[in-house]
Symmetry: D2
Subunit: 359 residues, 4 copies
């Protein structure tokens, strides 16, 4: 039974954890265990992840949160003179308070001028152009080297790569010697999305590092970093510590990921959230209150909402205003509505009632 | 009911969380809330902490772990050309993988040559000597500036400052314009220790920043940073994020600290752990198997254990060998035995049985 | 008498120093002096610069080179969570090996989509748009803060701001609380350019920091950083040292800048170089071998050279191929020709002979 | 002819450059050359240095100054989680404004408790103890790794290692996998010292990196970094740039080192300076005004000067007061007197006259 003074579609981390995760925390609470991730809970969860990836040699580590994971992994995959390539809407390029630069590395942002940018996706030809231009530049030894590629799955805008698109980004990066790192803060919602053809083994086979988001996918906290094919950077344990990212009670993550990877729970929670999210744009259209900005098959829906109803809608529904006056849509605000494992069918029905009353 | 294939005295983070903390997590799990620490759980916990500190203006922030907290707070209390002063056994000087230096700052270590160093404490006259020598040095503008003082309460060696001693360190630091930061990773065990005369309000009044350890004092994770007298550094929220230390579900810490600060639970858990720990040295003496290295009134006991029984003891009891061949104690290994909220009287009785069988 | 096996137009640091600078080094070589910039040569040169700036309170420091100066000044004008705004062709954004990011700060690059970008200039409206969008962003405390504006005078592409344009950039930056830093690596060539209406006092009054380039303007090495209105950052001397940028024999810079600022030498050397450079595009046009890419009134000329003559031209003349296949100019390579104090009228005549023989 | 309002023994960088170095700068000033160290002057100087080292494969780079060289080389020889070991009086540990820490690395300081510390030398057994203790520490993956050894030749206190002592430090470091870096800011004065048995080839064979000081040994600026046996770190050119340490007119260093390595000038200038310095302690003894603190065979002499004459002596002679009240020498101040290529026999005679008048 959830307490709701209002409807919550503001994000996917405005809640506790999935009941099964909570159950696992409760049932294991009395056990003693090793520390710093060297415990039996972590060992079991790592094995479950390796199996899910069909990569028995994968190196797996648990960290506490997304920005921390991004900045630690990126710093460790780069040498000091190298930088990471992202799209302009990439989380590391915008919303991590300069954490990558704080660790000394440049974030190269691609132009984001091709159609796929509206979904937050990287255009492999823009990537190729940047990597090639560095390689061909006779002054390149005066320049930071673009040496790692960062994408999100799903993207910041809820977009999805197809398997073929992911493969193309991966192969483009590798053609220039750059590994690919996939930010999976919301991976559950990608894996479960309608029409998605990227499985976890496919993902593991087509990148050099990725993380399986916990915090936004049903855990209290925690992200599982996977380096396929035993690809962890040198001394990664020590560097996690140096980054302040080592959990003393590593089991906190181990227990939770153990639960998330039992009986396919991870994907299941994503699926229901995606399904419920997919109903939202229709409600706005139905009552003439807004329309989709771009299509999304994941748990984030971007809606151009009529500006005149914004104030009243906000008093009853929590959501995020992404852009108050988006270009090309006068009279509308760009808003984000997000579902999670905690969203239920009733939330959608309630939302409909609110919208109906507003039209 | 705890599962024990062996006895655990290896550390205070080898367990889940205190039952009351777990209860709070369970009972609040269904509620929606704000994010990044802007939620009602955090607000309540911060208020409880301000009250416990008797400082209504204190700035309070929740971070996930100790090293992260130390490196974030220290970096933000320093300007880029400044460094922090610690004792040679200080956690930041030894066991944080160079996290402070990674953020660009020097750790000045005092000689640690006076008697209080055996308990891991800072000698105010050594501190004064360093600060004065910098101030008097005509070449000081070619030097990193010692501009912050770091101590732990209790120390890494389980030692305690008296109120008078703390005040002296604080005043010495301030005489040279340096703020004082107190690492309270195990603060519960200090506050509750027999003979301790430092209350939380006294602590808040005699330092410029400190943290109330959660991870080692009954929480799953989390540390509460307190800047007394509204003393938070500029843009601290953004810098927490930049350090990768911002919890998306800030409530995870808020709920736990809310529970820890209800009805004095924090101090109570420390008290029982301290009491049980205090029984351990006597057991070793009683059976002629070892002796205290230095007296400790907190949950860490440092025992010189007869080397000949080490192997067998280790097969039944988890503890940490601190130094295999400590100077001045031939035939003994220096070992650390630690209790926590999870330790019960039975653990001590079981330990006695093991020791009895060994003598 | 210069030794020339070929003609040199490759850059403005392919030579020794201006004869008058050399003379000053020779004539002062036997004198003892203070160190680290605390000597009478530096004192005199600083005064000469303050006078030239008509700012008696200006703080002046001498550093050894351009990248060092940029990264030291930028790091010290920023707080750790802040970044610097530049145009996409800005030296700090491209050709400093990520030195700004290495010091922990983000380089924000503007789109560079307006016409002035072809000359390497910053569009104040693009600047305003970035600063405003940060200020208005409700998530800005999760973001690095654009808190300093960096431009070059002349720009990397030889372009010049008018006084009105500089003032507009300055006022735009200040409206959002951001100081303006002007990279004057080639300042002599801007001050002396035909039609330039920015004097040194005007520059000093319309920025918060700038540097007067020595290395590219007649010195062996050295840049003079000016913080108008006593605006040097806190502990700047120590931070120069921390950045490895403090000259032990500071006099090396002091003596040279003393000479450059005697009798207006600095501007004079710029004037002749600019005049000679201005003759180059005409030669290419005259012989049908190329045309200007964009107009430049400074010592750098960007010429679209017929690709078929490139190889032979290169065998006789040193210059830089900027882009082998510039967009929109099939059959041409974009090349840069640069003059300096060391270029003489004969060099231009010789260049004409070479071009004539090629057509 | 030197201008002297007073006698200068304050340091070895209070002057211009050696006349032969100046001559080389003058005679080459009119030549064009390549940039960033890729010029014929640098090529020739590098070859001369390789020959002097009897190491045809040595990588040689020229940087502008000492702190810059130390921090750049150390940063590049370390991986991010590693630190450098130094003696407590080491330049990087004290007088570089935390530049090494600024680049993210810990400086481990040895106790400096053995007799050789009075000369500023590293005790190989203290080094071994630190390296071994790290290697044996079961918690070492929570610690910064001591992974590079830094010594100075001569030391900060004018001390010299014998060939056997250097070899022992080198072998100790290598036994634990740590390379050795020798700071030769004043190398000329070591090579030329009476009784010194370390030749440049021996040095090159017994370390992994060293630099040949220019600034303090007769150049206007410049240090030559040598990585014996083609041992330069990856992408060192780019990292020099990233550190702001790349000279645009690399020839400035090339020309000067070319001159310093012609006809053994480098060592010759050291020899005369050492000889003149060696006369200073005797003068103080002769007139009962002071005594050596510790013996030095190089150009720095540390004298305990009678405090009562300090003021008057200072009015006629420039020198550095190292410690106003050195322990164990009441009534004396510890002072440093330094000679250089610019010191002449007359300076010593004048000093004697001043002392004579004071006694």
């Amino acid at each position: 039974m959830y307490i709701r003074s209002m409807l919550y579609f503001d994000c996917d981390y405005n809640n506790g954890c999935h009941p099964k995760v909570l159950e696992a925390l409760v049932s294991t609470n009395g056990e003693y265990s090793g520390t710093y991730g060297g415990d039996h809970f972590c060992a079991a969860a790592k094995n479950a992840i390796r199996e899910a990836c069909e990569d028995p040699d994968a190196d797996v580590f648990f960290l506490a949160g997304g920005t921390q994971t991004n900045s630690t992994v990126i710093d460790c995959l780069l040498r000091p003179w190298q930088g990471v390539v992202a799209v302009p809407t990439g989380h590391i390029a915008v919303h991590e308070a300069g954490a990558v630069e704080y660790s000394g590395h440049k974030v190269f942002t691609l132009p984001g001028a091709s159609p796929c940018a509206s979904e937050g996706k990287m255009d492999p030809s823009e990537l190729e152009s940047l990597l090639k231009s560095f390689k061909d530049d006779p002054t390149r030894n005066h320049m930071a080297e673009p040496a790692l590629v960062y994408i999100s799955l799903p993207t910041e805008l809820g977009g999805l790569y197809s398997a073929a698109e992911l493969q193309l980004v991966f192969e483009t990066a590798h053609r220039y010697g750059a590994p690919l790192f996939v930010d999976g803060a919301r991976l559950a919602y990608a894996l479960a999305a309608e029409g998605n053809d990227i499985s976890m083994p496919f993902l593991a086979a087509h990148c050099d590092a990725f993380y399986i988001g916990g915090t936004k996918c049903g855990a209290l906290c925690g992200e599982a970093v996977v380096f396929p094919r035993a690809g962890a950077p040198d001394h990664f344990f020590t560097r996690i510590k140096q980054h302040g990212a080592l959990l003393a009670k590593g089991r906190l993550a181990g227990v939770q990921f153990g639960a998330l990877f039992e009986d396919g729970l991870y994907k299941k929670t994503g699926r229901e959230a995606d399904r419920l999210a997919s109903l939202i744009p229709g409600l706005f259209r139905k009552y003439g209150l807004g329309r989709e900005d771009h299509p999304s098959r994941t748990n984030q829906q971007f809606i151009l909402v009529r500006s005149d109803i914004l104030a009243e809608l906000s008093s009853k529904v929590a959501f995020e205003v992404w852009q108050e006056t988006p270009p090309g849509a006068p009279g509308f605000a760009l808003c984000r509505f997000v579902t999670s494992w905690a969203t239920v069918q009733d939330d959608i029905s309630e939302l409909e009632k609110v919208l109906m009353a507003l039209c």
